[in-house]
Assembly symmetry: C2
Homo-oligomer: 335 residues x 2
């Protein structure tokens, strides 16, 4: 098992999740000598867990193609194979993202209805308790109209199953909300989506700031744009935090007020706690695969597990197949 | 003249700028009956100003192509023509962005060395007093490697002339900083830039969060990605502000501390005051053109004027020509 703080956060995170999901069972792939002592601290988890020992691991700096060729017996690949062989329902990893994607793509294979799997995640918005799903976050740099339409199905099914939104609203990310603006593949995807029955509704184009306004459940874009949007958003949050800090430091009166506002800052921090939005999910494969952030802690890893559990319980793939198979691709779009 | 609060903010903004730039002269294009009463409040500005009357205006919802065909005598187009005819050095407008771009493109024409003009703007970063220039912000949805290389020249010359950075560092926006990642046009642009003498230095790829970390002077991207990055950043800032507000409201103790922290909040607001980052500049045309945000006030409009003044004083176009003409496009890139 991988990630900056493995195997501690993985086992401890699983212990947190096991308390919430009574039917959960765990397979831990990795070094038995490291996993066992941590697992022995969790009596209940020990009973529902099995360790599959391997010395081999995907390294943080392994190129994905190297991982594919040389890490067949790594903990990551063995975990993926367990899902492929139906020994497990979902693989959750905090290891090397690129390697996980490529190993999962080869090990689990895309669903027959999906030409390109995508990475999805969800974010806080300006409306309390309302989340927005964004995909693709980086699996596909350039996307055709057909890819984007498939992402709309992946994203809206994810919103139903994980965020429990009955009829998710879906938008395509663009640089204007007018019909005539944007790249050709976006216009083509929009015209396809207007004539297709999604699990929810298609609401046209959205702009970057709509990702956080809480009015849309699913925002669809190509992996390049989605990744830039994610990183820009993270950078902006860091920038504001650092400005707030330096503004406090430079104002003696404000320093006096600082202890008083701590409860509010704590609440803010909790609202935008990245650990709660930690499950990047690889959608469109024949098996379920959740990527946890590499630098997370046990709460973050537990949240990634919880996303996986919800997808298993909600039968993500069969629900997706039900809706996407009804599609009559009347005008077969360009590939 | 256009924008949500014209002509008040335009004339009052010009009055602010005229105090800073002693040699400035103003031509106001628009309804004389509206402009004159406001101008009469500013004795000094009146002396250095001239009103060119027109009843015609580009409307906020005019499609750019409609503006091009039907608004030849609009205040916007007459102002652009004044620059084209060398009666003015720079046009500054808070009107319809799309119309301004198209009218300026036709009226001012691209520079011979630039195949596609771009919109640039600059942003606060985590380092005090350090700004980062981002372009293109939306003029070109898809860009070739050659376009991106030209943007690198436009952006670094802008950083020199407006932000007074002697040797600006330039990066291409990508979804990873490794050499082998990203779209083909990005890799091609990177290999061209590695062999070209920029006004500053080429520092490889950057990711979305690097726009705000203060380590890069110029971030180059296509107009689609740049626009999404800008809007996502604005959306994130709004999200955090709204979360901060609701966190304060829900905590009585924090409300007590609120008056004490006002100086810090005031300083934060000043640091990220959008009015100070209000000059979106249309670079690569034979005449200078600055777009002020439509909903701004006189301080924002004055800042847009100040950007224009710096570009005139710094002889932006001749400085650009000096550096880009030295380029030996050894391997002529694909168009």
């Amino acid at each position: 098992m991988g990630g900056d703080n493995a195997p501690d956060i993985v086992v401890n995170g699983a212990a947190l999740s096991a308390r919430m999901h009574k039917n959960m069972q765990c397979l831990f792939f990795g070094d038995k000598n490291k996993i066992e002592p941590i697992l022995s601290n969790h009596r209940r988890l020990s009973k529902i867990s099995k360790i599959i020992h391997t010395d081999n691991a995907v390294l943080p700096n392994d190129k994905p193609t190297i991982a594919l060729r040389k890490r067949k017996n790594s903990s990551m690949n063995l975990a993926i194979q367990a899902v492929a062989n139906k020994e497990a329902d979902c693989v959750i990893s905090a290891g090397n993202t690129g390697a996980l994607m490529l190993l999962a793509l080869f090990g689990l294979k895309p669903l027959p209805q999906i030409s390109r799997p995508a990475i999805a995640s969800y974010y806080p918005t300006m409306k309390a308790n309302k989340r927005t799903v964004l995909l693709d976050m980086g699996a596909n740099l350039q996307c055709s109209a057909k890819n984007l339409v498939e992402f709309a199905f992946l994203g809206s099914t994810f919103a139903q199953v994980v965020l429990k939104v009955d009829k998710p609203s879906v938008c395509l990310l663009n640089i204007g909300t007018e019909d005539m603006k944007g790249k050709e593949e976006l216009k083509e995807a929009a015209s396809l989506l207007a004539n297709i029955s999604l699990p929810g509704s298609f609401n046209g184009f959205a702009e970057g700031d709509n990702i956080m306004d809480g009015n849309i459940d699913v925002v669809v874009t190509d992996g390049f744009t989605g990744n830039v949007a994610l990183k820009t958003s993270e950078g902006t949050a860091k920038l504001i935090a650092s400005m707030l800090k330096s503004a406090f430091k430079s104002s003696p009166i404000s320093w006096l007020g600082y202890p008083l506002i701590l409860p509010a800052l704590y609440k803010l921090k909790k609202n935008i706690d990245p650990r709660l939005y930690n499950g990047g999910v690889f959608l469109g494969l024949q098996g379920l695969c959740v990527k946890s952030h590499g630098g997370t802690d046990e709460i973050g890893f537990s949240n990634a597990i919880n996303v996986g559990v919800k997808m298993v319980q909600g039968q993500f793939n069969s629900r997706l197949a039900d809706t996407i198979e009804q599609v009559n691709w009347q005008q077969e779009p360009k590939k």
